[in-house]
Symmetry: C2
Subunit: 247 residues, 2 copies
Amino acid sequence: MADTETSPALPTIAALREHSLTAVVQHEIERMILAGELAPGERLNEKAVADTLKVSRGPVREACRALAELGFVQLIPNRGVFIKKLTKADAIEVYDLRAGLTGLASQLLAPMMTAAHLERLEGFVGEMEQAAENADFQSFYSTNLEFHDYIVRATGNGRLIKLYRGLVKEFHLFRTHGLVQRPSLLESNREHRDIVAALKAKDASLAYLVSARHVGNGKARMLSALDDLAETSPARHRRDPEVGRIE
Amino acid sequence: MADTETSPALPTIAALREHSLTAVVQHEIERMILAGELAPGERLNEKAVADTLKVSRGPVREACRALAELGFVQLIPNRGVFIKKLTKADAIEVYDLRAGLTGLASQLLAPMMTAAHLERLEGFVGEMEQAAENADFQSFYSTNLEFHDYIVRATGNGRLIKLYRGLVKEFHLFRTHGLVQRPSLLESNREHRDIVAALKAKDASLAYLVSARHVGNGKARMLSALDDLAETSPARHRRDPEVGRIE
DNA sequence: AGAGTGAAAAGTGTCAACAATTTTATTTAG
DNA sequence: CTAAATAAAATTGTTGACACTTTTCACTCT
């Protein structure tokens, strides 16, 4: 690719002042993984990446160390870095954790709820209602992300925010959200109302319960959708099947 | 049993075969921070560390990137890496998160409880009872760690285990556990019994509740102990006082 | 004396080269 | 023709060197 590229996520000199080269490389690799440009299980060739991004291997290696700690890649000594391959078991782990953190966020927010919070949350729910009726999956999905991120952010717990967002990114990797159905959307949003109601009532225990259960239901929906998928295309049958990559 | 990880302060050639140099360096820096050999807020001189460990700066930089992602150090472009300085607000964050994860672990374990699990857990509680009566803080503290780690491990959720242990390490950094009192030990162990009871009954909701509350009580005990400390030595009064480093 | 100025030193950011290891390709024996 | 052995290529691990930035400190001027 030419130097004067118009591509959005490429390292510019301006970005280099703020974020170091390594940070740019890290973001780029992360983007490539999330975008599916790097297939799960595939080995990441340091030199190839370095050449592509027009940098030396140093920053690439540093970025990979950080990504390994984030759980996006796996480092095997003398073998290289491998894009994490996600299995059904991983999906369950992520869902369970996400349920816990989502519940915790609501639990923490409940006693601190303000009118402004309530307004924002009800706004999101309204938007989702609209999207669900129009069967606008894309819009529903992004507002859904905003809704949950807002609750987590509102707690003000920086570590919780960081962990939660990391989990959402990882969850993104599964691409299982591509197979949600319209009835699920309505059902999901009904649960959102329950969450808002519990928060409005400042009932921490209830807020935890309905929030955690909401994600738990999402997990159940994902699993059943995954089973349906296995039904129709019985080709992919293994001991520990990987999810994601749905054509 | 205990982790296979011994604590050899120096990087041996043998360890280099298995774990890469970077991993050894990372462990060593982590140990130095946890041991207090590197003061919070202090800048980590890459060359100095490299010379001390008899390696070049490359592995040190890679290790620092990983540690930054773990939250132990902060990277500031062109300025260097700084040992994270922990404030009271940080302590609260960690406690809140730990409460959530501890609760989640119990909640997940409850429906899977076996007789073997119960036996181990009751063993730990017995040991702690003994330690509390003897006012053996050291013993109580380590068994307490084992007890909670066992519950988390038993869930089998690798991500939860990793996050939890990271939080415990960070918590370790506060050194606030140095100021627990004997009555706290007995009280704390009473709560452990509640946790075991809820797990034995396979009551997931209750298990979450008592586990999360247990950590919440620990948080309260820490805060009041911290206030007492501020009372006696009113020197350290700032807007956002750092904890830890208790002489 | 104190604030501003500008070299010198120290430290970080990046790179290219070399060493060690793993992977691939080729040859050879059964 | 298969499989072990071996040589060649590719890739990772590590290092020292160099460019650039920040910090330090002596110096000047008001």
